[in-house]
Structures are given as C-alpha cells and as structure tokens.
C-alpha cells in the first residue's frame, strides 16, 4: 500500500493562525491514524482468537493441574498427578492411542495415494473434465454425521448392505463392531470416502502449476508416463504433499464423529464393547462427560496436543526426504 504522506502536511506560509492550528491537528490525527489503524484492522481477529483460542488453551492447562469436577464442591490443585496417572496407569488411554494411530495409518496412507492417482488422472485431457473434477469434490460438502450414519447402516450386523453382499458371494457375515481390525477398516472407508476428493483437488491444483516444459523435455528424453509421474510430478508436489500430510495428521488424530456414530444408541463414546475403536477424542469426552473428571480430561487434551505436534514434526521430516536426496 503506497501511502500519500505529504498530501496534507506542509502548511502554506501566510495562512491564518486558526486554520494552521486546525491543519496541524489534522496532521497529527493522520499520523495517529497511520500508526494505529493497521492494528485496528487486525484487531477483530486477535480479539476473537484470544477469546476462543488463547483463553481456552490457558484454561485447559490450568484445569489439567486440578481435580475440577462438577461433583467436587471445591477445586484443589493436584500438580502433575493427572499426567502421571494418565501416562503410567491408564490402559484405556493407551488403547485409545493405539486405535487412533491405527485408524490414522489405515485411512491416511490409502487416502493420499488414491488422491494422488486420482489427481494425476484428472490432470490429463478427459471428456467432461469439469464434471469429474466437480464430482470428486461432492463428498466434502456432505455432513460428516450423515456419512457416518449411512455407513453405519451399510456395516450393520443383521440388516447391513455389506454383510448382505458378503453373504451373496458365499462369505460369512462380519460383526463389524466386534472385531478391532474390521471396525478400523469400516471407519477408514468412511474417512477416505469423504476426504480423498478434497486432497485430490489440492493435488490437482498444484499439478497444474507445474511447467509443461519439464514434461516435454522428459518425453523427448524418452521418459515414460510413470517415470514422469515419479520423477517430476511427485517432487514438484513436495510442499503440497507436506501440507496435506499435516492437515490429515491433525484431522486423523482428532478422529471423532465417524467412530462415535459407528455405534448407534447409548454408549457410543465407549467405541465398541472393548474399546475396539475408541479414539483419543472419544476417550476425552468419555472422561469429561461420563466420569465428570474435568481436570483429568484437560490432561488428556494436552497429551493429545503434544502427540499431534510430534506427529506433524515427524511427517514434515519424512516428507522433506521425498526428494531431498536428489
């Protein structure tokens, strides 16, 4: 922004006193304006961020150090007790961690690979190109709750479509909620159905900014399509892949709605009879809303935060290596 500082500044000589005085005041207002109004413009964001971001985080840290619960008339400070209990003597929490990482791996790896393939296919000359590009984006605009409800019906034990299909090709029906791996698989399909298109769109946008010259040069040198994909497209997409990885990590480690609604009726937060698909966020709510241990729930939230930060860092380092050896 180019600021026109001198527009009002130099007072003409010989002007009446009062006018000069007014001018000077106007000039100082302008200076104030220039100095502070940029802060004013960005203020609304920071006010909202402070109220809905900083304050809850600070409060979570504080509450995690107490035994706050609606059942306790008084709140007492317990120091690190909640964290010690969580890390050393809570098998249910670690079960939730295993589930979360299991489902994260089971959903994210195929999701990003599929998205990459899909984007590559859509990047070629196709008939009805716009239609296909729109079509893959459709799942994003459906509500997660609806997706979860419909998939739960597909995977229902007695009257579900998937079991009916299995039955019709002569396989035994599967109780999708009883078996750990089966439930992970079912939930991962929900996640992937919804997010593959989103990632594909991002990859597609990035692919279109790769210079065509590189492909032409590679083609002249006799590189096959496959070779072009791995040696040009993927390295060029590196920043985009890092971005999608981090976003998927944050989303995947906070997986909640799909596994929650996978159980219909009461006790959804338990994530199956033995916690087969209880994720960390579900455990968090279980502790908070069923057991009313708000302080302990704060500790769970903070450990989840640390886990996400760690995973994002690891992802970043891995993704950097995709092409840094070249």
């Amino acid at each position: 922004m180019s600021l026109d500082l001198h527009a009002a500044a130099p007072p003409e000589p010989g002007a009446p006193r009062s006018a000069r005085h007014t001018r000077r005041r106007a000039a100082s207002m302008t200076r104030l304006d220039l100095k502070y109004s940029p802060y004013l413009y960005v203020l609304p964001f920071f006010v909202i961020f402070a109220v809905f971001g900083v304050y809850p985080i600070a409060y979570t840290v504080w509450i995690a150090l107490t035994d706050r619960s609606p059942l306790n008339p008084t709140i007492s400070f317990v120091g690190m007790d909640n964290f010690v209990e969580l890390i050393t003597e809570d098998p249910q929490f670690w079960n939730a961690v295993v589930n979360t990482f299991g489902m994260f791996a089971l959903s994210t790896v195929p999701q990003l690979l599929l998205a990459l393939m899909l984007a590559n296919a859509l990047n070629r000359k196709l008939r009805a190109q716009t239609f296909f590009r729109m079509a893959i984006a459709m799942p994003i605009i459906t509500s997660t709750a609806v997706v979860a409800l419909i998939f739960s019906m597909l995977y229902a034990k007695d009257f579900g479509l998937v079991n009916w299909l299995l039955d019709s090709i002569g396989l035994d029906p599967i109780d999708w909620r009883a078996n750990r791996f089966a439930s992970w698989f079912a939930i991962s399909t929900m996640v992937d159905w919804r997010w593959v298109g989103y990632n594909a769109l991002i990859y597609l946008a990035a692919m279109q900014s790769i210079s065509k010259d590189m492909y032409e040069a590679a083609a002249l040198d006799g590189a096959s399509r496959r070779r072009q994909f791995w040696s040009i497209t993927v390295p060029q997409l590196r920043p985009t892949i890092i971005f999608t990885l981090i976003i998927s990590t944050i989303g995947g480690l906070q997986l909640f709605t799909e596994p929650l609604l996978f159980t219909s009726g009461s006790g959804g937060l338990s994530g199956g009879s033995e916690g087969q698909f209880q994720t960390i966020t579900m455990y968090l709510l279980d502790v908070m809303n069923q057991r009313f241990r708000w302080g302990y729930a704060g500790a769970v939230a903070l450990v989840l935060f640390v886990l996400i930060a760690l995973m994002s860092a690891i992802n970043y380092l891995l993704a950097r290596r995709i092409s840094s050896d070249k």
Binding site: G265, S266, E274, R293
Partner: protein, 439 residues
C-alpha cells in the same frame, strides 16, 4: 492502493465503532431476558425432559396454561437420549445458565446432583414438605439430599414386568395366557429354562432382546432384595468387586447368553429398534416406561401381538425420574408451582395415560384410572394391576454419583460376551473398567 486520507480516517472510525458496539451488544445480551417476567405480560416456563416419548405432559401443559393465564409453557428435549440430556444438563447446572425452569432428573443421575444441591432451589422453601405423603416414601427419599434439601419431586417409578410376544409363544408351543406365562418363571433360572424350550422350538427368533437390558433388570431386582445398592455403597464407596448382588446378576446374564437366548442387540440402537419392527425377539424385560418404548418402536403392525406377564423374581424398580428447579431460573416460584402440579396425583395420572409412566404417588396408584387401567396395545392387559402391585412394596436401590459411567463400562463387557468373548475374562474386565470409570 491509495485511498484518500479522509475516507481512510472514516473507515478507521467506523471500524472502531463496530468493534466497540459489537462488544457492547455481546455484554448487553444477558440483561434483556432478566426482567421479562417482572411486567404484567405472560412469563414463559421452559421444561426440560428426555426420552423418545417425552414425559407425556402435553395435555397437562394446556390445562395448566388455561388455569394460569400468565404462564406459557415450552418443552424441550423430547427425542433426546438420557445420556446426551444429562451431559448437557450437567454443563448447564455447573455453568449456572441455560437450563430450563423445570428440569427432569433421572433416578440414576440425581445422586450426581446432590453434590450441586446449592445450584437447585430447595423445594421445601416452596411448601414441598407438605406434599411428602403424596409420594412413595423411598421415592421421596431419593429426591431429597442427605442433609434434607428437597432437590426434586418424584414423577414416575419403573416397576417391573415382562413383556412377551404371545404369537411367538404360541408358535413355539408355550402357553400364551399371561397368568400361565407368569407361572412359567418364578425365578430367573426358570426363565432361562423356558427360553431354552423356546429356542428348541423356534430357530428363527431369539428369546431375549439384549444381555444389557436383562442384566439391568436383574441387577436392580437382586440388589433391591439384597444389599440395597449396586456399584457404590451408601457412603459412595466403590464396591463393585465386593457386592455379591452384582456378581449374581452378571452370572445370570452370562448364563442366559451361553444358552444362546440373546438377540445381541445394543439397547436403544437403530438395530434394537429394527428388532422391534421386524419382531426378532420374543421377550423383553419391562419396567413400566418400556411399554411406551415398545409401542413407539414396534408400531401398529404389532398391536395385539405383545402381552405383559409378571417378571421372574420378586419385583424391582428400574428408572423413574424427578422434577427439580435450578437456581438459574428467573421464575423460581412459578416453576416450583408447575413442578408441584406435574407431580401431583392428577399430573401423574395424566402422564400415565399418555405414555404409561407409572405414578410414584400412592393415591394415583390406587386411583381407578391407573389401578383398573388396561392397555389395548398389549392385548388389553391389566397393566395398572400388574405394575402397581409391585410399586408399593418396592425396596429402593441406592445408585452412586457415577452410576451411569460404571454401568456403561459393565454393559460393554456383557456385549463383548455376546460377541463371543469369555465370560470369566470379561467379568475381570468389568471389575477393572467399572472401577476405572467410577474413579
């Protein structure tokens, strides 16, 4: 970009005023609603309930509004499950705002609110103590905190019976007359034996809907006859591993599962609801409020197929609620009056007629409108007689503050047994997870 200075300054001032106004508006929000009742205009009382069928108060609201022209009643929560309802209510009570003027407190969760009794209006201040005789003594006791504050007035009790599909019984060669059916099972062991006979004759249907439902009913009954408490003793100490009643109920349930009688449906799930519609099971343990659930889920197609018999064992109670008034209410006096009306004999009879919730008021229980009532949906069964008979002799069961969390943990292990896990290992898991959930 270059904007003339004057306009830029105007923009800055406009922005500043928007920010300030916005903040002022956000702060001013609360004060408006505060004095809506102080004028002569009608006041609105919000009643919070839960459950698919609600509490059956619609007619009573109309009646009350006609008698009190300054009161408008708005109900929330019909269709909301107890778990979600209770989570929300806990947050609202703790935050001190957002709860209704009259709120329903369920038997299993009211104990949790004893610790927050100071957030509720002591109904004794509004003359509730004069009404003590209007409630079954144990119901009155449950609604009162240990130090004598009246937290809630009783609505219904969950006296138990057993609902069965007479058409399936007939096809399996079992008696269908409700007296004879009741005579089949003086005890739960004989109930399981009857189930095995049924299973031998009918391979298509299961005898019982779910292990959890069976377990809850058995536990409440056994505990009522025995210790008088379940997972917590009366001093709120976790005793899941010491209370023999819990083990007895658990073993009976795993025995029932081992006999292959359970339809393995998770209570209150879509599949459970579909089980009613498709008629996949022959019996369900039936607290009085369950009759409303069956009618709602099985629908008109199954009218006349269901019937009600005496439950095995010696009667018991599962469920039932209270009405309380949070201190956050702006119209505490009016809300207390409404709660008193809804829990009066007249109010309870109205709710009984609407959704089958059995009164906790002894006068209402003996009232011909209840005692002589029959239920057309359940083959004209004399439900008043069947349920009311048990209600007056019931022994209360004390439920601890985190009863629901522990119950969920134990129920999950029973589901695991239904899914084929070893009953012995799951009992150990129940002890461990139950204790962790109740911590």
């Amino acid at each position: 970009m270059s904007v003339p200075i004057r306009r830029r300054r105007f923009a800055a001032i406009a922005l500043a005023s928007v920010v300030v106004l916005g903040a002022a508006a956000a702060c001013g929000d609360d004060s408006d609603s505060g004095d809506s009742g102080s004028g002569d205009g009608p006041i609105t009382l919000v009643v919070d309930v839960f459950g698919d069928q609600g509490f059956g108060y619609e007619e009573l609201y109309k009646q009350y509004e006609a008698e009190h022209t300054n009161v408008k009643i708005q109900e929330r929560g019909k269709g909301l499950g107890l778990g979600d309802y209770n989570t929300r209510l806990t947050q609202q009570i703790t935050a001190g705002s957002g709860a209704g003027d009259v709120v329903a407190l369920e038997e299993g969760t009211i104990v949790q609110f004893y610790a927050q009794a100071d957030k509720f209006v002591n109904l004794a201040d509004h003359g509730a103590n004069d009404l003590k005789g209007n409630f079954l003594p144990w119901k009155w006791e449950q609604g009162t905190t240990p130090d004598g504050k009246v937290l809630g007035l009783g609505t219904d009790v969950g006296s138990m019976a057993l609902c069965y599909r007479s058409d399936l019984f007939k096809a399996a060669g079992l008696p269908t007359d409700r007296e004879q059916v009741g005579a089949l099972w003086p005890t739960w062991d004989e109930f399981i034996a009857t189930g095995q006979k049924f299973a031998a004759a009918d391979k298509k249907h299961k005898f019982v809907d779910s292990a959890t439902n069976f377990y809850n009913v058995v536990l409440m009954q056994v505990a009522g006859q025995g210790s008088g408490y379940t997972y917590y003793d009366k001093s709120n100490k976790m005793v899941i591993d010491q209370n023999p009643d819990v083990k007895t109920a658990y073993d009976l349930t795993t025995k029932m599962i081992a006999a292959g009688l359970s339809n393995n449906l998770q209570s209150f799930s879509n599949e459970w609801n579909a089980g009613f519609k498709n008629g996949t099971f022959a019996t369900i343990a039936c607290p009085a409020w369950m009759t409303g659930v069956i009618k709602g889920q099985a629908g008109d197609a199954a009218a006349g197929k269901w019937d009600i018999a005496k439950a095995p064992g010696a009667g018991g109670n599962w469920g039932g609620s209270f009405l309380g008034v949070p201190k956050s209410s702006k119209h505490q006096k009016e809300a207390a009056e409404l709660a008193k009306f809804l829990t009066s004999a007249k109010g309870q009879i109205g709710a009984y007629k609407a959704v089958g919730n059995l009164p906790s008021n002894p006068q209402a229980l003996t009232d011909p409108a209840v005692a002589d009532s029959t239920n057309d949906y359940f083959s004209k069964a004399p439900v008043g007689k069947i349920f009311a008979a048990g209600a007056t002799e019931l022994k209360p069961v004390y439920l601890g503050p985190k009863n629901n969390a522990v119950r969920t943990a134990v129920e999950n292990t029973l589901r695991a047994v239904e899914q084929g896990k070893s009953a012995g290992e799951q009992w150990q898991a129940a002890l461990k997870n139950g204790a962790a959930a109740g911590k």
